[in-house]
Symmetry: C2
Subunit: 258 residues, 2 copies
DNA sequence: CGCATATTTGATAGATTTCAATTTATGTGG
DNA sequence: CCACATAAATTGAAATCTATCAAATATGCG
């Protein structure tokens, strides 16, 4: 990826997949000032307690947001891929920062809080789109709570794979495939199981022909079968919305006060 | 509580504890149309798949937001007390609804989506406050992921108790006490352990003198001791902010475009 | 080639679940 | 205010999943 210059298009694309924005608003987002950062695999590029003054937008690679225990154990609380803004919430909660780690080599665009606040104040529909983006984040996190409490190890991993497949827009049909650079230790950090047990569970999923996780890639022979096994229901991800389903509340209701 | 008429003051108070709102904006919030509902303990008052057209604001009692598994098992993904709006996110994600259950007898004020969208469109600082409220919700949910994966049963319960103590503004010092109407089965549904094991863990916490959970009330003899045991760090809850720490981004940055 | 990281395997220990019953509260109608 | 039905809390024993400990084998990279 060296030498390539990225813009915010992936981020804007993700926002507009769920929110209705005008051309002017899209252009304003694309004109935001950015600082491009290349991050090597396994590198922490945001550390806790440092008060950040910018948001990190992932434009290439995979990033993990995590919490750290006193004994050094890590729990990954979210995965982020191209287009995601793992800490967009810091625009309104500047003290609530989480460490971010690159799980593959990654490219990040840093966008200053100041510029984001300005654009959110000037274009209410953009503030709304940011709010919606954060709300989907909550829905995903709530599903993780369910995942790690109510499913055994194989189902946990399967559910995680289903989530990522949908977010990569790779779900459905046969021979689904998408990048998945997590080590088995990191899969354990995301699903709450030890790396030893991840190893056995991954092997078990392969034996069952449900999913193959290796070489930083996931292959799913039969999507429906894995989704059923994992009890996966994609609705919470708000993916594949039709244009008519994309909300824009800021002017839809501005007239009537009731 | 029969016969008592509630208003949205608890909700407004929670919003203004983290967001800076003008008197006009506060009054606009208090003038929102509401429908008061009394809900008996253990009753589901929002069920999944029903497209809701209103937000539920808790003004009395305790409410649980949960997900249901195919085998009927429930996972509680959040607890909500007076002032909380468990499904405020449905203002921007109308399809992302979760079942809500009263964990004690509770009083709910229903606020129509239409009115909330109107007020959010008219007062950007209110939209911002809503966004912030949802973002704190995410922070809490992310902590739950950590709680249920990285702590043993006693610590999980302890951490949950610490969270609720802070939200009740009852934390600190000795002999902390606050309402906690969950059955042991529901504590298990919140922390990912069986009711049998909750029973033993609760007893264990009592033996250690760390916390006493009984008769729908929690008593904590020594706050610092329990917080240390649970590895609890309250910062993520954004409680007890000084007035100067409460953000208002919508006009703070509206001038400079940079 | 050789160190560091990642994956794999085996054996054992432990925490938690499951299953089954019993006891103890709580609430309601007569 | 008691009797009954129901819900909640409690206890015991056995079964499981997962963690832990320890080591061997791959893999990647300078």
């Amino acid at each position: 990826m060296t030498g390539v210059n990225f813009d915010l298009q992936p981020f804007v694309g993700l926002l507009t997949s769920r929110s209705r924005l005008s051309k002017i608003e899209e252009d304003a987002l694309l004109a935001l000032p950015t600082q491009q950062i290349e991050v090597n695999r396994h590198k922490d590029f945001v550390t806790p307690d440092q008060t950040v003054d910018h948001v990190s937008v992932v434009v290439d690679g995979v990033v993990g947001r995590f919490s750290q225990m006193s004994d050094g154990e890590r729990q990954i609380t979210a995965l982020h891929i191209t287009g995601d803004a793992p800490d967009l919430h810091t625009v309104v909660l500047h003290t609530d920062t989480y460490p971010l780690q690159a799980l593959s080599n990654a490219t990040i665009l840093r966008v200053p809080h100041g510029a984001l606040r300005t654009i959110a104040a000037r274009y209410p529909a953009i503030a709304e789109a940011f709010w919606r983006h954060c709300s989907v984040d909550t829905a995903i996190t709530a599903q993780w709570v369910v995942n790690v409490t109510r499913r055994d190890s194989r189902m946990r991993i399967s559910h995680l794979l289903c989530e990522m497949a949908v977010r990569y827009e790779a779900d459905g049909g046969t021979d689904v495939s998408f990048p998945f650079p997590l080590t088995q230790t990191q899969i354990g950090e995301a699903t709450g199981i030890t790396s030893v047990h991840v190893n056995r569970s991954v092997k078990g999923l392969a034996e069952q022909g449900l999913a193959f996780v290796a070489d930083q890639v996931v292959r799913i022979p039969d999507w429906d079968r894995l989704a059923e096994y994992a009890e996966f229901d994609a609705r919470y991800l708000q993916a594949k919305l039709q244009p008519g389903e994309r909300l824009r509340i800021v002017d839809q209701a501005s007239a009537k006060v009731r």
